[in-house]
Point group: C2
Chain length 289, copies 2
């Protein structure tokens, strides 16, 4: 299937929005791409870098005549943006997003949009710890997974087009229920980010003078790289995936408490069992890299 959008509006031209924009331009999927955002210097940079064709600080101008609108802002901003842009969308437009939380968003946006506007919820599992348009690059989605979360209301044609968009970006598309997505991502993405933030802060608290972190080995650097991720984006994710996250945090706390107990009581075999288990889980999930 070949796709073409005469006019694409990208709301939030950062790492993800910018990288998908680069794909669309490189592969000639779009006639023109307009960026919208609150930070004019970021948008100017996007035009300078050739990531977008033009930009507007006025949402209605950015989305006017768009065949496709890509929502790529922090997730909590998306619903308000949809509310504001609805009166300015033409019939037949496809709205899609890249938010890391899906249940709340898909429900709200489907509720808001009129029948002749299609919505397809999406979440490309790709990224780096960097943000802003200058961190975007063409191959960000290559060999990554992109989850789409259609519902019974989703227009089949629109879904096919968004699938093709992500295929063209190099991603493997996985269709999933939005609620399953949120439960799974709480475990494999949201919890690890939270843990990395907590770990860096723990060490920061005891390290006011010593600059201990400069002694850290490569493992620690890899481990905490995600603690450099965008604070607003992660605040929004935590709040919108609250229930799943609270549940998985509790389970993680149980796991830490268990290790602590084994150390306290010097249960060497139990510790070794726990570490062996982690070895097995990690190695059996094709995570060696």
């Amino acid at each position: 299937m070949s796709i073409y959008f005469k006019h694409m509006a990208i709301i939030g031209v950062g790492l993800i929005g910018g990288s998908l924009s680069r794909v669309c331009k490189e592969k000639n999927l779009t006639g023109k791409i307009t960026g919208f955002g609150r930070n004019e210097s970021n948008l100017k940079k996007g035009v300078e870098l050739g990531v977008i064709d033009s930009y507007s600080l006025d949402l209605k101008d950015a989305v006017r005549d768009a065949d496709i609108v890509l929502l790529a802002t922090p997730v909590r901003a998306m619903v308000d943006i949809v509310k504001m842009m609805i009166p300015h969308l033409k019939g037949g437009t496809i709205v899609t997003d890249v938010g890391s939380v899906k249940g709340y968003l898909v429900d709200k946006i489907e509720e808001l949009l009129p029948k002749d506007i299609s919505f397809v919820g999406g979440h490309p599992i790709a990224g780096t710890e960097r943000s802003g348009v200058e961190s975007s690059f063409l191959t960000l989605f290559k060999d990554s997974n992109c989850i789409l979360t259609p519902t019974e209301k989703t227009n089949g044609e629109a879904l096919k087009k968004i699938e093709e968009l992500w295929h063209t970006a190099g991603a493997k598309v996985i269709l999933m229920d939005a609620k399953d997505h949120d439960r799974i991502l709480a475990a494999i993405s949201h919890l690890p980010h939270l843990v990395a933030y907590a770990l860096v802060n723990t060490i920061g608290d005891i390290d006011e003078d010593d600059n201990l972190l400069s002694l850290a080995g490569g493992g620690f650097k890899d481990f905490t790289r995600i603690a450099s991720s965008d604070p607003v984006m992660w605040r929004d994710i935590c709040l919108l995936n609250k229930d799943n996250l609270l549940e998985i945090i509790s389970q993680f706390q149980g796991s830490i408490e268990r290790l602590k107990r084994y150390i306290k009581k010097e249960k060497g075999t139990k510790l070794e069992d726990e570490f062996n288990k982690a070895n097995r889980i990690r190695n059996s999930n094709n995570l060696m890299c």
Copy 2:
């Protein structure tokens, strides 16, 4: 200062012992290198790969006539090995180690060794999640930090030689009190490993059927790579650095609990503050990579 050891014995020819052996041979720091270990096939592989010159399964044969003995086994085995080899060491031999815990080890080994045998405690902060001699490589220590923990009993000449050994391997040498070492490493290395193990096990527990981990992004893979590290080595580290580790685990638990509370009460600004703090700490410690 140029150094030369006619005979080096390496007790434990794995990632660290094997990599330092490669350095010694490449730079002609040694006449011959004998490996000792419990796993004969690993030692045979070491000879085949040219990492060591020969091996023995008998400790007294391995250390006989050695000018330098490098202890590179899991830390809890080291004291017993020292006890067993003492009768077979010649006067003037230098014993050094690469253990990740220093306080207990330095105390015990200094107590055991006769006056004419020098001991220098060491800990190269380098490694990968792999183990065994086939994972060793020449440049493992390049641009890494190596902590040495001399005491008032340490022979100055022996210390200089071990410093030079690590310089030749490409490491920056840092002299530090053994107790400071253990407190600092509990924070920047031992806690992160423990957290990675706990995180992988948490996700493993909820993922018996779904193979969720295969969906994980690069951040998670980086984050949990250290959970593939050697279970026996990490069991020993946890047990020998128990007190420091229990203290830092408690602080980490406080940090996780605080984030959990902010999510529960939907304190967006507090969450953002915590995430911004982690951003600042990480970026101010030259950890960008």
